[in-house]
């Protein structure tokens, strides 16, 4: 929105926005997404899987549980891939349909929507809220405000608790809250996220999108003239103006010189970011479609065709394209590239996860003693290298492992025959590798440690080097 304060101030306090309640297709869709995302967010920490939380990022024990998966910090690449998949999906959705993420599923929108619902219940719709804020402080105003902030705080605290519930088992958290035993970092992060929710959804709202969100700023890189945006059909709507309800559309222009826009300002009143969509696409627009919903209602009341404000592409509005042409424009290079990237990454990650071993092996050479010349029992000289290796069991039952090695002639190893590792635990074991002296050329030789899991017969081969000194 154009700031029209005739002043030379470089900072001004942002005007408070009182969005009007809106009903319609997009509002319903948004509430659907609010329900879906929050069902997942609030519900997931409570789901159990094999006697543990189904999703738990246990930072202290450095284990990440995702349904059947037990991930080690070494598996972080999978979580990174998940993030990259999310980012690519955002790219794809943005290229196709603009800021639909912002308008329908972003936590900022979702929590603002929930908080505004509470606000509406207690303080009423837009006019009542404006009146309440302008009225003098009295008992009614006070009680309404107190009531609103109390409910907001409860929602915020529950949100904070749920968020921390992804890192600490939530039943323990709730028990600690009930017994007033929640202390330390858990308490800090619960309060921190509660405060962030309360502040962002209750007060900052559109300011977050306008000034804080980095994603909102680089989305324009994914936009083109075929991307869906909320657009006002200027040719049909202008010139705007008030008119009698009884003039039919056929004679409207000839008799009054007016377009279809009746200049009721409802599209401005419903906008959560306080812009006027009729001025064209603006950076503040989060693509929520509230203005389209409310305008369609007005058009129906006026018996005009709907979709004066609609989700459409710049090209479609400019050239009056039909749906078929718009759908064909979906298959453009940008969209195809994003889709191809997204699909191939999804398949790659799925393949990797499906073929992931049930354990990992990490091998570390001793650093002080590179190689050792030792007299064996039968007076033969042998060369020894010492290693430690870690087996990381990512199954949720005790497993048994057997170790062998290959890569050099007459190579012998000394290490426990059978290594037992408890569920989701890791263990360091010492390994001594020996070869007869003066049989192998000096230098470093590749050898492999083959660890076999006896319970599922998988083998992981980890490469290391055997150092032969020049004697």
């Amino acid at each position: 929105m154009q700031v029209t304060t005739p002043s030379n101030l470089l900072y001004i306090s942002a005007p408070k926005i009182y969005p009007r309640t809106v009903q319609g297709v997009f509002a319903n869709l948004r509430w659907g997404f609010v329900g879906l995302t929050q069902l997942i967010f609030y519900g997931l920490p409570w789901i159990e899987w094999a006697h543990r939380p189904a999703v738990l990022f246990n930072l202290e024990a450095r284990r990440f549980y995702l349904f059947p998966l037990v991930l080690y910090p070494q598996d972080f690449i999978y979580l990174t891939a998940l993030l990259v998949i999310c980012a690519l999906s955002l790219f794809l959705f943005t290229a196709l349909a603009g800021r639909v993420w912002c308008g329908f599923a972003c936590p900022q929108t979702v929590y603002s929507e929930i908080f505004m619902l509470v606000e509406r219940w207690i303080e009423g719709n837009r006019p009542q809220r404006i009146k309440l804020d302008r009225s003098k402080l009295n008992l009614e105003v006070m009680s309404k405000k107190l009531c609103k902030h109390f409910i907001w705080a409860l929602i915020a605290l529950w949100t904070g608790l749920t968020f921390v519930g992804y890192f600490v088992p939530i039943d323990i958290l709730v028990r600690h809250v009930v017994t007033l035993n929640l202390v330390g970092w858990s308490l800090f992060w619960v309060l921190f996220y509660a405060f962030a929710t309360y502040g962002n959804a209750g007060f900052m709202r559109e300011q977050v999108c306008k000034y804080m969100c980095p994603y909102a700023r680089f989305q324009s890189a994914m936009f083109d003239a075929d991307t869906l945006v909320v657009g006002y059909d200027t040719k049909r709507g202008e010139p705007r103006g008030h008119r009698s309800k009884h003039i039919s559309t056929e004679v409207l222009h000839d008799e009054t010189g007016l377009g279809h826009c009746i200049d009721c300002q409802l599209c401005v009143h419903v906008c959560p970011t306080g812009i006027d969509i009729r001025e064209g696409l603006q950076y503040e627009c989060i693509g929520c479609g509230a203005c389209a919903d409310v305008c369609n209602e007005v058009m129906k009341k006026m018996s005009y065709p709907i979709h004066l404000i609609k989700f459409s592409s710049q090209h479609a509005i400019d050239h009056n394209w039909g749906l078929g042409k718009q759908v064909r424009r979906i298959f453009r290079t940008r969209v195809l590239i994003y889709t191809a990237l997204l699909l191939s990454l999804c398949f790659f990650v799925a393949y990797q996860l499906a073929h992931r071993s049930t354990f990992r092996v990490d091998i570390v050479r001793d650093r002080n003693t590179l190689s050792r010349l030792v007299e064996a029992q039968d007076h033969k000289m042998i060369l020894e290298n010492v290693y430690r290796f870690q087996i990381m069991n990512s199954q949720e039952s005790t497993q048994h492992y057997e170790v062998s090695s290959h890569g050099l002639d007459q190579l012998e190893i000394e290490t426990p025959k059978l290594i037992e590792i408890e569920a989701a635990k890791s263990k360091w074991t010492v390994l001594r590798v020996a070869i007869p002296a003066s049989q192998t050329a000096p230098g470093s030789h590749k050898i492999w440690l083959d660890v076999r899991c006896l319970d599922d017969n998988r083998v992981v081969s980890e490469q290391t080097v055997f150092i032969v000194p020049s004697l």
Partner: protein, 302 residues
């Protein structure tokens, strides 16, 4: 601020910090308005490339509030914590103090685990799988850097898995060695022994003690020179554990086998040190570690 002799730099840095904070606030206040020229609503009067106009989109006030908050935060921080020159802050916080506290907290947290080991003798602990598992971790983290992960050491670093002990291999002696450390000293003996050929003869005699390949004639000549060695290594070169002298009659050569290595040792001597672990590890940890190390040479690793 022990790097500086005069307090000048402390005051200088403190002044720069305080002035910097005030300068930030002054800048914020000064820049809250543009420079007073009359401008169009919403535009600041700058026009480029004929019609490209720069708009004035004022920052929201809360953003300015963030600047103020960070400055106030800095001021409070500088009052509480060290940062203003050599001023230590009213909380008297220091990183070494925090480290010491964290170490103590860690020791307190593991104390219950070690309490049951304190009741066991070192020999009994060596039979306790949990103690051995903890001992193994302690060994890998604190000892393996020199003695190798398998405890067999290497040149200069004793093998802990055999029956040869410079200072004694009883559980108590092992605990003493870990706690207080050891210094092994072999003085340079070239002058006391004599000429190069004397040293050659002596080295051959030392080799003969362990029945290693040697020149018998030279060894016979070197025998009388061994008197100066016998003071520490004993009459037959078997070593004396009370003073940590090496046993020369076995096949274990910590600093290298063969005539050259022995001659070098006679001529140049050697100081070898096992650092004391007291202060790094708690007494309970050292006991568990002793059990693990004692077990290395008293029971074949399974």
């Amino acid at each position: 601020m022990s790097d500086f002799n005069s307090p000048y730099w402390s005051y200088y840095i403190g002044a720069v910090v305080v002035l910097g904070l005030f300068a930030c606030m002054f800048l914020l206040w000064k820049m809250s308005k543009s420079n007073g020229q009359p401008i169009d609503p919403g535009e600041n009067g700058h026009v480029w490339d004929e019609d490209l106009r720069e708009q004035n989109n004022p920052l929201p006030l809360w953003w300015v509030g963030l600047f103020v908050i960070t400055t106030v935060f800095s001021a409070i921080y500088l009052l509480l914590y060290p940062g203003l020159g050599s001023f230590k802050g009213t909380l008297n916080w220091s990183s070494s103090q925090e480290h010491a506290q964290d170490m103590q907290a860690n020791l307190d947290s593991i104390a219950p685990l070690y309490a049951k080991f304190d009741a066991l003798s070192i020999q009994d602990m060596a039979k306790d799988p949990q103690a051995i598992s903890i001992g193994s971790n302690l060994f890998l983290n604190n000892c393996a850097q020199c003695h190798a992960s398998d405890g067999k050491g290497s040149k200069g670093f004793p093998n802990l898995t055999d029956s040869d002990w410079l200072h004694g291999g009883s559980p108590d002696k092992i605990q003493e060695t870990i706690t207080l450390g050891r210094v092994g000293l072999m003085p340079p003996m070239a002058q006391a022994v004599g000429t190069a050929s004397d040293i050659d003869n002596l080295a051959n005699y030392v080799l003969s003690l362990s029945s290693s390949p040697h020149d018998a004639a030279k060894a016979k000549k070197g025998q009388e020179k061994f008197a100066v060695c016998a003071a520490c290594h004993g009459a037959r070169g078997q070593g004396i554990q009370a003073i940590g002298s090496a046993n020369l009659s076995d096949q274990i050569w910590l600093h290298g086998a063969g005539q050259v290595a022995i001659e070098n040792m006679i001529m140049n001597g050697k100081v070898n040190q096992m650092p004391a672990q007291k202060g790094r590890l708690s007494d309970s940890q050292i006991r568990v570690l002793s059990a693990y190390i004692w077990r290395l040479s008293n029971k074949a690793p399974s």
